[in-house]
Amino acid sequence: MKTSLYRVVDLMTCAIANMLSDHETVFHGVSSHLPMVAIQLAKQKHAPNLVHLNIPGGVNPASISEECYSSASGNLLKGAEAYFPLEQIFDLSMRGKLDVAFLSGVQFDIHGNVNASVIGSYKKPKVRLPGGAGSAVLIPTAKKAIIWRTKHDRRTFVEQVDFITTRGNVWKIVTPLCIFIFKNGKLHLESIHPTSSLEEVKENTGFELLYDDIKFTTPPTEEDLKLLKKIDPKDFRSLEFK
């Protein structure tokens, strides 16, 4: 295990960037700085024709460096190629033409169920969560849903979610400890971050860990880290960790 020439957040960002292929249409919503930075990284590294879509509607914004607290503000219109707002992004996904959607949630189980709605009962919840936003229609219709989550503990990865906000085309889940991949109807451990260990993942996951073999997530290269500094000088990607 290397000590940090890079931080976990950088590793997560690079790992997500590596999941994106050239020419794909990719959407992120609000409070989504980490994927927003990852999309820009992928564009600069290996996927120049990625189509970056977002809530304010700027198709391929020139820069994200002013996006500050939001990831849904008008700054994403600057230098964009076209205006293609949320309404139409949803329609695009319904038509099967959204390749990747970045979404989050609060609880996940091994069956790929996602809860972003409530802890406890729906009508009289113990905890009312913010809600799934677009998840309930995007996770079933985007070709690949990538979920990122900045917490990895047994309250997040549970035996059974309290409420199924949605399920569908969850492809990967990226956490500070590892990456899960959904296949054959279940979440499998795809790789462990070099900054973590199988034991740590096990300890913090409330469901059985399935895996074929133990792999480690590719760490960021020097070039990745340089690019990250250029793309995201104000370190928005780690906003959720603060």
Partner: protein
Amino acid sequence: MSKIITLNEAVATINNGDTVGIGGNVLHRAPMAFVREMARQKKKQLKIVKTAGAHDIDLLCAVGAVSSVDAGFVSYETKYGLAEHYRKAVQSGEVIANEHACYTVICALRGASMNVPFMPVKGLNAGDLLLENDYFIVVEDPFGSGEPVTLVKSILPDVAVIHVHECDKNGNSIIYGPKFEDVLLSRAAKRVIITTEQIVPEYKIKMKSDRVDIPGFLVSAVVHAPKGASPCSCYQKYDVDHQALSSFIARKEKAEIEAFIKSYETKDYAGERGIQKR
């Protein structure tokens, strides 16, 4: 005939129990001056509709003005955390949270804009939202494809309140930057109230008439509300007022909230001065 009225007058047209569609998205271009005035006038039992709300819904829940919220997402953005007043109101049972995917709010408004009772919606085909909410129904495709089709019940707001950058006295309105779902909302609601940064002469709007997002003939009333979205942002006019927002979020008690709303009075009524009324 000018549609310009005061903030006070415009809010007075809102009835307790009204379904109110609020423009903007999360921390951007919410009609906060109008929202605060609804709190001051002690509106009750409002049914709020918005794809993704934040400070607007949180504030109205904090003063007990809300009976239900139809939304896909209610939370401040990352930096500011959760909408605690909304959460508490839902958890206590005071407010009913009708959770939507943002898209199903959009579809429900599309249904209203077309005056049909429901809108078919792709995508929402699994999970508990379908089971728990009677505004979703799954039917068989009557055209015989054999596929189940999810329908969402249309939502017809009694009023849409939308904050814009500029409009003329007839309500011809232009939004710069992201429009979010505001154009749709203006077509879905029974009536439209515009709050605006600036009221400009008609000829100025006419010079860019192809950019008018909401034509005046759809608008019932125009309120001059400079900085009317603050502490939320207004594209290229002002950014989020970090201090005010943090101050609000730190307040727990009713008296503190009321003081916060009161502190905006001078600003919220600023638009009434210097405007030629009617």
